[in-house]
């Protein structure tokens, strides 16, 4: 007996959609908020780059915990005496960006460099997260 319940049908479709979306890797959901970041997977390390113009390295705070890297700080607007701001496009104020790191890393060996407004963070992978060459036995 064929039983077509429209509500059941909608529910089935909704589940299918949910399933489809849950299969997307989490890293495709990023926020495009200041600072913009890129993340690369290069065999033994992950490399994160971020565009943070206008800050000194002392004013950028980087933390790793719970499988995520958090970059935070405060960008102050320029001060030119008593000036009028005619146009504002540069982001300003407090920022915090959390980036999930998809593999296990050696969190005590994270290194960071900040040059010309670009932050580079190297996150060495834990042994078990590194790619392994498998030899085929004859």
């Amino acid at each position: 007996m064929w039983d077509l319940d429209p509500f059941k049908e909608i529910e089935r479709m909704r589940r299918q959609m949910d399933e489809l979306f849950s299969r997307l890797p989490f890293y495709e959901r990023t926020s495009y908020q200041f600072p913009l970041v890129n993340l690369y997977d290069d065999k033994d390390d992950l490399l994160l780059t971020a565009e943070i113009p206008g800050l000194l390295k002392e004013d950028v705070n980087i933390q790793y915990n719970d499988g995520a890297l958090t970059i935070s700080g405060k960008r102050k607007a320029g001060a030119y005496g008593t000036s009028e701001l005619l146009r504002q496009e540069q982001p300003e104020g407090n920022f915090e960006k959390r980036v999930r790191i998809p593999v296990k890393i050696r969190d005590n060996e994270i290194r960071a460099k900040f040059e010309d407004g670009i932050l580079k963070v190297t996150l060495p992978k834990a042994e078990e997260a590194k790619p392994r060459q498998i030899t085929i036995e004859s």
Partner: protein, 132 residues
Amino acid sequence: MAELSKREQIPVESASAEQLISPENAFSPDVNIYDNREALIFSMDMPGVRKGDVTVEVDENNVLTVRAKSSFSEPEGKVLIHEFDAGNYYRAFTLSNEFNKDTVSGKLENGVLEVIVPRREDVKPKKIQINA
């Protein structure tokens, strides 16, 4: 007052020298413009640009043009997150003739370019001494 033109953001195809950087092959940097009566101050975000890789010029039509070459290149490896592209920067502004184009100065620090365009002496506000 400066007349501003914002260009579309277009990623770089190829540009080997600053002279080749044009609106078609470069990013338009975010700008803040301040007016402190003495001068206009342009502050532009140019992450990845090193000192010496920027040209600032004002031509005979009072167009202030900024071109900058980025030193950032895509690292090796598989891309997991990609929110920004590496590229050069180009932006142009038309100045009114109340500014002195011969005394324009620029400074690049932490990926931010600051260009100072002073007003001509004869249009600057003058302090008038009040005699008792």
